[in-house]
């Protein structure tokens, strides 16, 4: 056989094999050893990627690098803030992935050498990769709000935009607000993690006030933006459940917080100052430091990727998924920074990586987001995003997706719709946690 035919034959053999029985690395570059994939970051994106890489090709050598032994989910953490459930219910370890053959290393990835294809860890270890998945989540730009700092976030002024100890610290503050006290929530400019999250938090804090005899207390949302995710649904719910308790100040009316005073608990915008009983600043954020330091982020701080495969637009053999990337049908229909989209990005990346390692084209990708918000008892709603390839380009499908209906034929229907989605949050959560970590 001449080389051409031999290659065709190998390709055919690979193509004929089911996806779960991929031959690993027929090409000479990797001859004689298993291909190594390193995944940095064990959140919804990274955990899902590690699991599906192993599921799709058990012969792969997959290493997951994660700082913490216990993961705390951000989804549903607003519920914890306001006394619904325990934080332990949102937590998981990495035993499930280890059982699937993923090598889990509790360490901190501190540097990437893209030319040598290595990742350096804090412990001193250097990992060599054939493919690298970065799912580092976000880091905060504290400097964007004068007077705020990481130190304040870890002590008197938790942002709780990463679930964990700060969630519990903010919970205590909310519980201590006197009747008539004000909870001020500052929302950073888009894009940010969990687009409906701030408004869900506002709703649940109001719910807490309502159910704990703090009827005169208020929630003030100071927003750098002029609109927000599921706005019609939130505003309807606020009127029905928390009439007069929640006030939203958009950016155009001076909502953007530029400065805070920790001593007096005051937020400052270009239009005025707002004194709070609890001041909850969500600082602007950007792709996790490891991705930014590796030069993978754009001027806005997010990592651009090939829309169809999630491979970095800047550096080949590195795939960036989850909150750190900027993805979707840009510029209008960007993919939300949600657990669910990270989960589907991870699966697409896993398929694309295995295809590339085997020298075959990446399979057609599908990206989905389903994001539920609960705002009152039996009152939940969602937004759905469907992205798929049309004419070689990733597009947001306008005929599908969108938010739950705001108005329905009658009250019975509306109540049923909101009740169903308030329950589905729980089923979604349990399944996506298992899909990523178990």
């Amino acid at each position: 056989m001449n080389p051409f035919n031999r290659r065709a034959f190998i390709k055919a053999a690979i193509a004929a094999a089911p996806a779960s029985a991929f031959l690993t690395l027929p090409n000479n570059a990797h001859a004689g050893r298993k291909a190594s994939v390193v995944v940095v970051g064990g959140g919804f994106g990274g955990a899902t990627a590690a699991k599906y890489l192993k599921k799709m090709d058990p012969a792969l050598d997959v290493t997951l690098v994660e700082r913490l032994k216990t993961y705390t989910s951000c989804p549903l953490s607003n519920e914890i803030l306001t006394g619904h459930g325990k934080i332990e219910d949102l937590q998981t370890g990495y035993d499930g992935l280890a059982k699937r053959g993923v090598k889990v290393m509790f360490d901190d990835a501190i540097g990437i050498d893209a030319a040598a294809k290595t990742v350096k860890l804090n412990s001193g270890t250097t990992l060599k990769y054939d493919a690298l998945v970065l799912s580092p989540g976000i880091d905060f730009n504290y400097g964007a709000v004068e007077g705020y700092s990481e130190q304040l976030a870890n002590t008197s002024h938790p942002h709780a935009w990463k679930a964990g100890p700060q969630t519990l610290a903010l919970k205590k503050q909310i519980e201590a607000i006197p009747d008539g006290g004000v909870f001020v929530l500052s929302v950073p400019p888009k894009p940010f993690r969990c687009p409906p999250g701030p408004y869900e938090r506002a709703s649940l804090v109001a719910s807490y006030f309502k159910h704990h005899g703090k009827h005169k207390s208020k929630v003030l949302i100071l927003d750098a933006n002029d609109s927000f995710s599921k706005k019609g649904l939130f505003e309807q719910a606020w009127k029905m459940h928390y009439n007069g308790m929640i006030q939203w100040v958009p950016g155009a009316e001076g909502g953007k917080v530029t400065k805070m005073d920790a001593q007096t608990n005051t937020a400052f915008t270009d239009f005025g100052e707002y004194k709070a009983d609890v001041l909850n600043i969500i600082p602007p954020h950007h792709a996790g430091a490891i991705a930014k330091n590796a030069g993978l982020a754009n001027a806005q701080g997010w990592c651009e990727v090939d829309m169809l495969t999630m491979e970095s637009a800047v550096q080949k053999d590195i795939w960036v998924i989850g909150d750190a990337c900027i993805h979707g049908d840009l510029p209008v229909y960007d993919a939300p920074k949600s657990a669910h989209i990270a989960n589907t990005q991870a699966k697409v990346a896993a398929g694309a990586i295995i295809a590339k390692l085997n020298g075959v084209p990446a399979p057609e990708p599908f990206f989905v987001n389903t994001c539920y918000s609960t705002v009152a008892d039996d009152w939940g709603f969602s937004v759905v995003h469907i992205y798929r390839v049309e004419g070689g380009k990733l597009v947001y499908i306008k005929e599908a997706g969108g938010i739950s209906p705001v108005n329905m034929a009658d009250e019975a229907q509306l109540k049923l719709q909101r009740k169903l989605e308030s329950r589905y949050v729980v089923g979604w959560f349990k399944n996506i946690m298992a899909d990523a970590f178990a």
Partner: protein, 196 residues
């Protein structure tokens, strides 16, 4: 002669490669598509609960019908309709085939004996179509429900009992409405408790 055989062999290999590539691409596409379902419906279509239904091992006819009805607005859903409007009929066929080929894995849910007895007694009118334990549907259009999630089934019955939402099955609507409200959850729990 020898040369000709070699040419034929090369031709055959090339044809196989092409055919296999097409098959592979289709399989990989279906796998990518089906993987998106796992986030809510569990690995291999086995949900870990409590209100997301398991879908692995349901009949192809049922899965296809439900997805088509959602896509075409013939069946009410809180969330799923917004998903299926984004996929072609061929893709829905592929999803239905994929999950119907997986085994049905009942998730047996315990409940108090009293509740189960109440549910069993009230479930008489469900039996005709779903079978005594919910594992023997009378036609391919009817889902099996043994070891399905109780809360999911309860919420589905609430859909059928709400007059103004569009649901396709008159018999199901009639029968769920005949049930006493206090029997709805026990009936669901009765089927959820059945291993086979």
């Amino acid at each position: 002669m020898k040369q000709r055989n070699l040419m034929a062999a090369i031709g055959l290999i090339a044809a196989c490669a092409m055919q296999a590539s097409v098959t592979h691409a289709a399989d990989a596409k279906t796998e990518n598509l089906a993987n998106t379902c796992n986030a809510c419906h569990g690995m291999n279509g086995v949900s870990v609960g409590p209100n997301m239904p398991s879908i692995g091992g349901l009949s192809e006819t049922y899965l296809n019908a439900v997805m088509q009805q959602w896509k075409n607005g013939e069946r009410y859903s809180a969330t799923m309709g917004r998903h299926f409007k984004g996929y072609s009929d061929q893709e829905l066929d592929a999803i239905a085939k994929y999950f119907s080929k997986l085994p049905w894995v009942p998730v047996v849910q315990a409940a108090e004996a009293k509740t189960l007895a109440q549910g069993k007694e009230a479930s008489e009118r469900c039996e005709t179509c779903h079978g005594a334990t919910g594992s023997e549907p009378d036609d391919a259009d009817t889902p099996r429900i043994n070891g399905q999630w109780a809360e999911y089934m309860h919420l589905e019955m609430l859909k059928y009992r709400t007059d103004t939402v569009k649901m396709p099955h008159r018999k199901m609507r009639g029968n769920t409405k005949k049930l006493d409200e206090s029997d709805l959850l026990p009936v669901a729990q009765h089927y959820a408790a059945q291993p086979k």
